[in-house]
Amino acid sequence: MEVREVREVVAALARDEADWKGPLPEGPLDRHLDSIQRLALVVAIEDRFQVCFEPEDEQRIRSVDDLVAGIMAKLEVHP
């Protein structure tokens, strides 16, 4: 899967599962999404891509770019 495709899926999940309106937010996620939205988004991503984020992975994720990179890294290990 390409980065662009992953980004599109994340955008759709943010819209459908985390009630995020508009384009994906720039900058730190926790400046845009509250804790429930972030939780809904990460679980939806795990379900959709069949990956599992560990707490250490999540510590490194600050922005949508980090999130997409994290998904790509997981998919490369378990494509």
């Binding site: 926790d30 400046r31 509250d34 804790s35 429930i36 939780l39 809904a40 679980v43 707490p55 250490e56």
Partner: protein, 634 residues
């Protein structure tokens, strides 16, 4: 000290032993995983695991009186360790795991503060969470360290220790904030008293003697009082089967909750208001294909302000799946009272009323004459009680929805005190207020805490708990209107307002130290309002509001519903310069929040003239009085 309830001097270990003898095919805990696959744990097996876990804890050095901290998700190990600690006479303290994708700095600080506040002897967690707790432990290291929850049930079983009903059974954290967490100490007697009252309410509606089989379903976090005391304790005390779902799964896929209720014929399931809103909004018909929710008789709604609009939306949305109109039960409670204080009477429709918003802001709950049939209805309700009064509610909840008077606001009743509890409304001086007068809510009952753990400050005086909430009583029903205390509670988060206010100090255009964060409870639920004094109210208001929202969300994780930009000097302050948040909200709602009059030389002169005229009138009055007195004397 509060009286020990008439529970035969029982303790939690007694309740476990009692539940252990129940039919293993029918009574136990059921854990649902991500695929909705169930793991069944009969109470008998659970009791055996508790005894074995207690043996393992003992071997690891845990003794009676030790504070045993737990940071675990919803899993069998959580309840096994929690009750095993009590089994030994130790004190379990359940803390919440880190929020996913959240910044951990604040989490470490808050968790360490809570561990320190109770002097935790040991911390049990799982391997996953344990890997990121290093910074927490660096700030507070428990005497016995951080230990793995897995494998403890392989310990050598141990009998329960000699535990007194008046011994502390657990500590739960209340409305404190990051820097000042408040540990509520609860005894076995208090926990069971509250759990037993909830059980009684369930059995009143669904007497087992008449062939009912009450069972619970919960996605609530087990570190939260409503999940722990509201669900686990009644399940053991009843006993009754309890299906447990992780909160994370519920938030991501709310339909799981409703499917579990239908599949396992759950009769009782509580949740905060936002959960009902989330379901009404997100659950699709195809998610509930073949589901019948008519078994759900007690849909308790508490832990945060309730919205009549949400309750109606939920009823309407799930009516087609058999959801009953008498199932929703607004309730009120708080950690310091163990949990529940008031309940809507089981089996009756929830009640809402419209009150004049202006009068309410002045502290008077004046029923709004705009609601159709209101006077007749209330006249009929007065002097009636029990079933007749309850039937009356159905009409009213719907009528209140139809009323549209601009000056009225709709409020949902939190019901009536549970048996053994008393609720009073008092003014700031402690005087008891009559019906329809807004004041501080005080509660008294068998499960009110004795005090905070390890602290001398306490909101309990002479057995009366000052809840820190504001409200009024009307027709014997409690209405909660807001908070007297300065803690914001929104979507399950507690936050000190000054932390939010500090977050906007760096926003360009906002005057430093000139912000007030308040929660406004209204018909649409609770909203977080942020009042900020700005240098120029005409400058790009939208950008400024967005910048404030981002700053607060980033710093505190709370979403601000409305940013109100004010001219300099508008926020009312105390004589020592502190912002008066409650007064800010009151004035704003009364459309009276205005900056002080600008002062110029002309106005100053006019003011001096008025002042001098006042003195002159006063002096003239004195002369007249003297003249009259001298005349009378002559």
């Amino acid at each position: 000290m509060n009286p020990t309830p008439a529970l035969g001097g029982a303790t939690l270990p007694d309740a476990i032993e009692r539940a252990a003898s129940a039919d293993p095919a029918l009574y136990g805990f059921r854990f649902l995983d991500r695929d909705e696959k169930a793991t069944w744990l009969p109470f008998g097996d659970f009791a055996a695991r508790v005894a074995a876990t207690a043996g393992a804890l003992w071997d690891e050095g845990v003794r009676a009186g030790d504070r045993v901290a737990l940071i675990l998700p919803t899993c069998p190990e959580f309840i096994e360790i929690f009750f095993a600690a009590q089994w030994l006479g130790a004190i379990p303290v359940a803390l919440y795991p880190p929020v996913r994708l959240g910044r951990l700095d604040e989490y470490h600080e808050r968790t360490a503060a809570m561990l320190r506040a109770v002097g935790a002897s040991v911390l049990y967690t799982d391997a996953r969470i344990g890997r990121i707790l290093g910074e927490t432990v660096a700030r507070y290291r428990p005497r016995l360290g951080v230990r793995q929850a897995a494998g403890l049930r392989g310990g050598v079983p141990r009998g329960p220790g000699a535990v007194s009903p008046d011994a502390i059974a657990m500590v739960q954290f209340s409305s404190g904030t990051t820097v000042d967490p408040k540990p509520v100490a609860l005894t076995h007697a208090q926990m069971l008293a509250n759990g037993a009252r909830i059980t009684e309410a369930i059995f009143t509606l669904l007497p087992p003697s008449q062939g009912n089989f009450p069972g619970g379903v919960s996605w609530l976090p087990l570190y939260h009082d409503m999940g722990l005391i509201g669900c686990l304790v009644p399940a053991l005390w009843g006993p009754g089967p309890l299906t447990l779902i992780s909160p994370e799964l519920f938030v991501a896929r709310p339909a799981i909750w409703l499917r579990a209720i239908a599949r396992y014929r759950g009769t009782t399931s509580p949740a905060p208001n936002f959960a009902y809103a989330l379901c009404a909004d997100r659950v699709r018909d195809q998610d509930l294909e073949g589901c019948d929710l008519s078994c759900w008789r007690m849909a308790l709604n508490g832990a945060e302000p309730m919205s009549a609009a949400t309750l109606r939306a939920f009823e309407k949305r799930f009516e087609k799946f058999g959801f009953r109109r008498d199932a929703l039960m607004p309730v009120y409670g708080l950690s310091e009272a163990t949990l529940a204080v008031t309940f809507t009477r089981p089996g009756t429709r929830w009640r809402s009323r419209r009150f004049d918003a202006g009068a309410l802001a002045r502290g008077i709950a004046k029923r709004c004459p705009g609601a159709a049939g209101e006077e007749d209805d209330w006249g009929a309700a007065a002097g009636r009680a029990g079933a007749a009064d309850d039937n009356n509610c159905e009409t009213n909840a719907d009528e209140a929805a139809g009323a549209s008077a601009d000056t009225s606001s709709e409020w949902v009743s939190s019901g009536v005190p549970l048996p053994g509890f008393t609720v009073e409304i008092r003014d700031e001086d402690g005087n008891v207020l009559g019906p329809q007068r807004v004041g501080r809510i005080l509660a008294r009952g068998p499960s009110v805490m004795q005090g905070y753990y390890g602290r001398s400050d306490s909101p309990v005086r002479d057995g009366w708990l000052d809840t820190g909430d504001l409200g009024f009583v009307d027709e014997g029903q409690l209405y909660v209107t807001g908070r007297a205390k300065d803690v914001l509670v929104l979507r399950g988060q507690n936050q000190a307002p000054h932390e939010l206010e500090r977050a906007v100090d760096g926003v360009p255009g906002v005057r430093v130290g000139c912000a007030a964060a308040v929660a406004d409870v209204g018909a649409g639920g609770e909203r977080l309002l942020l009042f900020v004094e700005v240098r120029d109210v005409h400058a790009a208001a939208g950008d400024l509001a967005e910048a404030c929202r981002e700053a607060v969300l980033g710093a505190c994780g709370m979403a601000v519903d409305e940013v109100v930009a004010l001219p300099p000097g508008t926020l009312p302050r105390t004589s020592s310069g502190k912002i008066r948040r409650g007064e800010t909200l009151r004035l704003w709602k009364a459309a009276a929040l205005a900056p002080p009059d600008a002062v110029n030389a002309l106005m100053l002169g006019a003011a001096m003239l008025r002042s001098q005229a006042g003195y002159a009138r006063s002096a003239l009055g004195q002369l007249r009085r003297r003249w009259r007195r001298s005349g009378e004397a002559a």
